[in-house]
């Protein structure tokens, strides 16, 4: 990973297996073990944002849909 670490970027991935404080997260087919102890009651199938080896927030699919709807109203209308 030399030189390609982006400091403020966080990558979304899907939780495959939880074993606190770690979880296996799938990033488009690449699986990595990451720390998840900043998030409570994480379960298999949740989407998380991972930044420098730690999950910093869950990604809310319902909210993602709402943003698409908002775009549909303003941007695609």
């Amino acid at each position: 990973m030399d030189g390609v670490v982006k400091m403020c970027i966080a990558i979304p991935g899907k939780v495959i297996e939880v074993d606190y404080p770690f979880a296996i997260v799938d990033f488009k087919g690449t699986k990595r073990k990451v720390r998840v102890d900043l998030l409570e009651s994480l379960k298999e199938g949740d989407w998380v944002l991972v930044h420098v080896g730690i999950a910093i927030q869950k990604v809310d699919e319902e909210e993602a849909k709402k943003t698409v709807e908002l775009l549909e109203q303003i941007g695609l209308g």
């Binding site: 030399d2 420098v52 730690i54 909210e63």
Partner: protein, 356 residues
């Protein structure tokens, strides 16, 4: 998020909406605060889609870039004098001071290791007898991971903190006379940690936005409407990842480990309460305390090679890379002089990447 066909249509319609909203209006300048936003803006050439009287300028949203040379010199000073393993992120390792970087030291036989995460540094410490120092940079997004690593209490693991709290810098930016800011696009990933609530006291229109081109254009539409109506709003477009409260657990560990101090930023000068030193109760893991003797004779210097470098002005949003005499001449991604050309989130590096 959107299908390509829908995205194209969204971008086209949003840019038309912006042109309509801005017709006959005074100039508006929006500052965004994240390298990833600049990447989106430049990659999709969004500036070319904006009306002439609407500008989007990058601010100090790149942790590597705003880390002042003094912090870097401290790390070099320590590396030269103590038998340590120095760990840091890849971007940081390429920033030069007087032509020397962490990679330079590595090539001279010093034990410098690039890590993807602070937890890699912890693993190195567990399998090593030497002191392992993590040169820690980054904003609220990154700080909780360093805090957790400190709380692991590994005996030979130390932090040289160059972490900085981002929110104080936004207030600081508004205090400059030469920086015009009509609204902010708030940094998406910092916001996942600090939450919407962290911005409530800042008195300009703000939108917390995601990183797709349609996210950025939608945020601009929201801001322009608010500015026209003279509404000091705080809106969250990035609801899929940013909650009002943010990540409370992350805030707790961050506040447990780090204090607050007035620290310098490249380009911004001293920013009140922005520095994140380790609290006294964790001084056993604070490289500045543990190696105190070594820093007694530390004197920061100026790098004469950076005299013409305009990194500072670019971070404040008063100059573009094209106004720097070094850009793509003496300073290139291969041979960078300024930090903004080194980091993948630096404005100069991003402009160079999409340079035609």
């Amino acid at each position: 998020m959107l299908k390509l066909k829908d995205r194209k249509r969204a971008i086209k319609n949003l840019s038309e909406e912006l042109k309509r909203l801005m017709r006959g209006e005074e100039n508006i300048t929006i500052m965004h605060l994240c390298g990833t936003h600049e990447d989106t803006v430049t990659k999709y050439n969004l500036r070319s889609l904006l009306p002439e009287n609407l500008r989007i300028v990058p601010g100090p949203g790149c942790p590597v870039c705003i880390t002042p040379d003094e912090d870097l010199q401290k790390a070099f000073h320590l590396l030269e004098r103590e038998k340590i393993v120095l760990t840091t992120f890849g971007d940081m390792a390429r920033v030069p001071f007087e032509g020397k970087s962490f990679f330079y030291y590595k090539s001279k036989g010093y034990d410098v290791r690039i890590v993807y995460s602070v937890f890699d540094a912890i693993e190195i410490a567990k399998s090593n007898d030497k002191p392992v120092v993590f040169f820690a940079i980054g904003f609220e997004t990154t700080m909780p991971s360093t805090a957790l690593a400190v709380l692991d209490e590994i005996e030979n693991f130390y932090v040289l903190s160059a972490h900085r709290f981002f929110i104080p810098a936004m207030e600081h930016l508004l205090s400059f006379d030469d920086v015009r800011i009509d609204g902010f696009i708030c940094p998406g990933h910092v916001s996942t940690i600090v939450g919407v609530k962290a911005y409530e006291h800042i008195k300009v229109p703000q939108v917390i936005a995601g990183f797709e081109p349609e996210d950025v254009l939608l945020a601009l539409c929201m801001l322009v409407k608010a500015i026209k109506n003279e509404d000091i709003v705080l809106m969250n477009e990035y609801t899929r990842a940013v909650k009002y409260e943010g990540n409370v657990r992350a805030q707790e560990v961050m506040d447990e480990v780090f204090g607050r101090d007035d620290w310098e930023w490249r380009g911004l000068g001293i920013v009140r309460n922005s520095g994140a030193p380790l609290k006294r109760k964790y001084e056993d893991f604070d490289a500045l305390k543990v190696f105190e003797d070594c820093f007694r004779d530390f004197e920061p210097k100026e790098d004469r090679r950076k005299k013409a470098c305009r990194c500072g002005d670019i971070l404040r949003g008063v100059a573009t890379p094209l106004e720097c005499p070094l850009f793509m001449k003496a300073c290139t991604p291969k041979n960078p002089i300024g930090a903004c050309m080194v980091s993948f989130e630096g404005t100069c590096n991003i402009w160079a990447k999409y340079w035609r």
